[in-house]
Amino acid sequence: MNIADLKLGQKAVVTGFSDEELSLRLLDMGCLPGEEVTLCCKAPLGDPIAIDVAGSRVSLRIREASTVMIEKINN
């Protein structure tokens, strides 16, 4: 599972990253393993997407989002 698999409004917990360079950028933004993420909006063409993480709203491209590994929260 990665962030690109989430549906609108779904919550998940970050578990890891598959791309080192991008992971460092995301860590700087506060997107750490163990943080809760919510997929809050998608651009009209489905790419980029925006997530709420660590109190900020961050947009990323699908290609970047798919490098963030997650575990879904069952709610």
């Binding site: 080192e20 360079e21 991008l22 992971s23 460092l24 950028r25 995301l26 860590l27 700087d28 933004m29 506060g30 750490l32 393993p33 809050c40 909006c41 998608k42 651009a43 009209p44 063409l45 489905g46 790419d47 980029p48 925006a50 660590a54 109190g55 900020s56 709203r57 961050v58 947009s59 990323l60 491209r61 970047e64």
Partner: protein, 706 residues
Amino acid sequence: MPDNTLKVALIGNPNAGKTSLFNHLTGLNQKVGNFPGVTVDKKTGLCTKIKSRKVQIIDFPGTYSIYPRSLDEQVFFTEVSNTESESYPDVAIVVIDAAHLKRNLLLFTQIKDIGLPIVIGMTMLDVLKDKQENIDLDELSKSLGAPIFPINGRNGEGVNALTDFISTYEYAEPEPFLPMEEYIHDELFHRLEAAFPDQRPYRIYQMMQQTDTYTGIGPEDREIVEEIKQNSHFNGPKLQAKETIARYKLLDAILKKVEKGGRKFTEDKSFSSTLDKFLVHPIFGYAFFVAILFFMFQAIYSWASIPMDYIDAMFGALGEWAHHTIPAGPLNSLISDGIIPGIGGIVIFVPQIAILFAFIAMLEETGYMARVVFLTDRIMRVFGLNGKSIVPLISGVACAIPAIMAARNIENWKERLITILISPLMSCSARLPVYAILIALVIPDREILGFMNLQGLVLMALYMGGFILALIVALIMNQLIKSPQRPFLIMELPSFRMPRWKNVSLTIFEKSKTFIFSAGKIIFVISIVLWALASYGPSNEMDQAEALVSQNHPGLNQDQHENMVASYRLEHSYAGHLGKVIEPVIAPLGYDWKIGIALITSFAAREVFVGSISTIYSVGSNDSGDNPQSIKDRLASEINPKTGLPVFTLASGLSLLIYYAIAMQCMSTLAIVKRETNSWKWPMIQLCYLTGMAYVFSLIVYQVLS
């Protein structure tokens, strides 16, 4: 800068309110330059609030951490990595956004570890959900080991307390925040301490992480660092991830202590979320965006024309006045026909630049700009551009100069460069007078399919063609220009806020000033050169104009006589001779030497074409403004003596229209591209590719139609 000046670096996350604080500290005492070797704005200013000593504030580009993501962010590290350098700051004000405390504090801890003395300016306390007055800043300050000053970016509250502190500031090296050995790599740090006993370990560690951009290190030390790197199997990215996570862990512990009793450093984001649902909606989102663009375009196009006409008239009157008061002679001509119009040609752009940047600053300030990127990124990416390119391209329809200045907001160098290179293909307002006169001349005024006017259709085709060509060129450039930076878009969508008007007005002021004093210099010099070309000629042919016209055309009234003289003089000036020299080159496009003269003189600005044409055909440039009909009739009756056919036919007219739509006929644009890319290389490439492309297209059109 004398050595007793206190140098204060202003650092912080993007959107943390750094700009507001900078503006409160320096007011209008700002200078904008470039950091050495890069086109990144370096804003510096003397702090006006402190009288007791000279305090210089340096504003650094917003960054999330000490590890840069772009050239802009690189600048900070380059500047602080050399403790010996002229510009090394004495103290840093780190601007912390209270609503995103943890993320903002990451950068703070890194700066502290590198050994810069720190003061915290805490902003956004006014938007916190928890309006309790007693958020425990003292406790936080103690845990972080740095003084905290609450700042209100809107009204400047709290700035005085901060400046009082700075004015009596004594240097004190800060304690490190993160125990490196414990959290990162104990063996590595023991080695570092053994090799560099009198250096801060985190500094050496940064040398290892960012060896290429670390400036404050001699060749011997560099070798030692490389050796340690080898021996300890140094894995930079892995250690960096470890370090960042460790910092957050420590910060979490601190925040837990401070946020006792359920007080939280968060803001209510429900309003922003609701607004986002609407603003990035597939239908409403685009509709709203198009409405904003339309409004912006309308403003630049029509509102700006009022002050522009006024400026134009003012410089015209000033030129007239100079012409009549200064004793006749070359000095008179230099001032009234060269210098005054030259300065006028610079000032005339200021209204458009001011209006465009008013909009851009407001969009940035509110947080909407990030949504624009979000909406358009997917489409622009196809052409090797970025969502942020859309604003410069749309602005280009008004004028390429503010458009190219607006491209500074694009962080990725390659995307920014492509945007700059294609901006002049958007048909700007200076092309309109040229389009209008040529379309009226060669395109029949008739309806097609019963409802479309052919002339209007051609005008629309010129605009559309320019835009399509711009995208095609972007595609090609995307393949040609190689960039080491991997393009990515990890961007914060900040909460919506009301614009801070002080920031907006200072942006307008600063952009206008930058344009006048940087591009203005080049524009001024070229105007003088073009004036000299049109006013002087080889030998004394020009001086005989009066006598010859009186002799060959007696019985003209005064106006006709003067127009005839002006026409004769221009024909025999250097510009006229140049026009004849280039005639063989432009003949295949259907132009004669008279049009050649207009091509040369209108390099100053495209709309000069109309004035030059009216002078050459001795219509009198004064008539053409009031009476386009007279110049049109005059052009329509022009016969090429070599062929006996009219000069302006459908073929040559269309060819000329296409030439003006594509060619780089604007020295002001070249001047601004030179400034924005910091070299003559790119403006020259632009001149060659645009004018070359214009030549080929016009050639094809003329040869096919004639």
